[in-house]
């Protein structure tokens, strides 16, 4: 989330990808750094080590959401 805010401060679009176990932290950091509406998408936890098939399925689901987020969807 900090990276997204850093990017936003130099006017570069960015969306944070946050697994569900880190959702509270993402909200905390966004609020703490003064950008509570910083865009982020929640992923299942864990992502690391889930193997190629599961990772591909996750990406297939994620990409449209990511593009929509970059286009301003909330």
């Amino acid at each position: 989330m900090s990276d997204v805010i850093d990017f936003a401060q130099v006017e570069l679009p960015a969306v944070a990808l946050v697994t569900e176990k880190f959702a509270d932290e993402a909200i905390f950091v966004a609020r703490a750094r003064g950008m509570p509406d910083a865009p982020w998408l929640q992923l299942p936890h864990p992502v690391a080590g889930i193997g190629d098939p599961a990772m591909r399925a996750l990406a297939t689901d994620l990409v449209p959401r990511l593009i929509a987020s970059f286009r301003g969807a909330r």
Binding site: D24, E25, R33
Partner: protein
């Protein structure tokens, strides 16, 4: 620790309570403590602490992530009072917080990582006595040393209350570790055959310096001292090489970050009697730390890497100091190694003297 927290900065609101007991419960409820009882930071206690620092109360030493709270002298003083610091210690606390705010330490990342890293504070120079006394001998990292214990705890309370590192919300360390309560010691400069840490890091011996490394809990390293100095020093160097790059640690698995070596004075003497200076020691420990990646990770993980590359710590990734009682055990402290700067160590000079309310004690 589930309370909403209290941001300590120059604009902090004053709170009131019917008694010190009620105030303590209030602070626990707000999530402002480390779970242990604290000294209630009353106005007079905080003012006396601020005075001992010799700096204005609203001066900011920097920000502490992930909250990016401003570490003003007053907010740090509040944490120092809560931790049980005597005002004499406060210049050391201020120096440590200055180091904490240095971007090279990557404290914002350290605070939120799932790794268990927390800051280890090493005190060198005359401040060990003038602003202490800080323990450097037997049990230096153990209980019963007021300056060591309370200064390390003050830093933890700053990380919680200024940096916002509530466990499970912003401090995502998977299990945490005991050294996240307090982790501070002085170097036993007088018992060492080698130059002290701060001198090797570029300071004069007469300067007082704190060195911070965000680290795991320390581990013991066994080496029996014998009369055969060559054999003994060789065994010790091999043990150190194994320990600093334990294949289970980030340092050993990836060759990142830094590790600290806390030699006990007898082990330090063995190395000195073998004709080694600290540069030699670092070179040899580094050499013994190197292992082929194949041995560390096996052939399958991570894919696509050269398995014959040697992984370990370079000499400049080793912080070597002397502390503790003499005997068969020294300590090794691994670190996280993540963050933009691999959370490298940071030093800050301790500033104290005429402006300080607390007179310098006679030596």
């Amino acid at each position: 620790m589930s309370g909403p927290g209290l941001v300590l900065d120059a604009g902090s609101k004053m709170r009131s309570a019917a008694s010190e007991e009620a105030a303590l419960e209030d602070l626990h409820r707000l999530g402002c403590t480390d779970g242990l009882p604290v000294i209630i930071p009353t106005v007079s206690r905080v003012d006396r602490m601020v005075l001992a620092g010799g700096m204005g109360p609203d001066l900011s030493l920097g920000t502490i992530g992930p909250l990016d709270g401003s570490a003003t002298v007053r907010s740090v003083a509040i944490c120092a009072v809560m931790a049980g610091c005597r005002p004499d210690y406060f210049p050391v606390v201020l120096a440590a917080v200055s180091a904490l705010c240095d971007p090279v330490l990557d404290i914002g990342e350290v605070q939120v990582t799932t790794h268990n890293a927390g800051p280890m504070i090493v005190v060198n120079g005359p401040a060990r006595y003038d602003c202490g006394p800080f323990e450097s001998g037997t049990g230096a990292l153990g209980p019963g040393n007021q300056a060591n214990a309370s200064v390390g705890r003050a830093i933890r309370l700053c990380l919680l209350n200024i940096g916002g590192a509530r466990p499970g919300i912003a401090d995502m360390a998977l299990t945490g570790q005991p050294a996240k309560f307090t982790f501070c010691l002085a170097e036993a400069e007088e018992d060492s055959p080698f130059p002290p840490l701060h001198v090797r890091l570029g300071y004069d011996a007469g300067q007082s310096v704190v060195t911070l490394l965000t680290a795991e809990a320390p581990r013991s390293l066994f080496c029996q001292v014998t009369e055969d100095v060559a054999d003994c020093s060789d065994r010790l160097l091999r043990q150190l090489g194994e320990a600093v790059a334990s294949r289970a640690s980030n340092n050993g698995s990836w060759g990142i970050g830094e590790a600290a070596i806390i030699l006990n004075p007898e082990h330090a003497q063995v190395l000195a009697r073998a004709g080694l200076n600290l540069s030699d020691v670092a070179q040899q420990v580094s050499a013994f730390s190197m292992k082929p990646r194949r041995q560390l990770h096996g052939p399958a993980y991570p894919p696509g890497l050269d398995l014959d590359v040697l992984i370990g710590l370079a000499p400049e990734q080793l912080l070597i100091m002397v502390a503790g009682g003499g005997g068969v055990y020294s300590m090794v402290v691994n670190s996280w190694g993540g963050g933009v700067h691999q959370n490298r160590h940071v030093c800050a000079e301790v500033s104290y003297g005429a402006s300080c309310e607390v007179p310098r004690p006679l030596r």
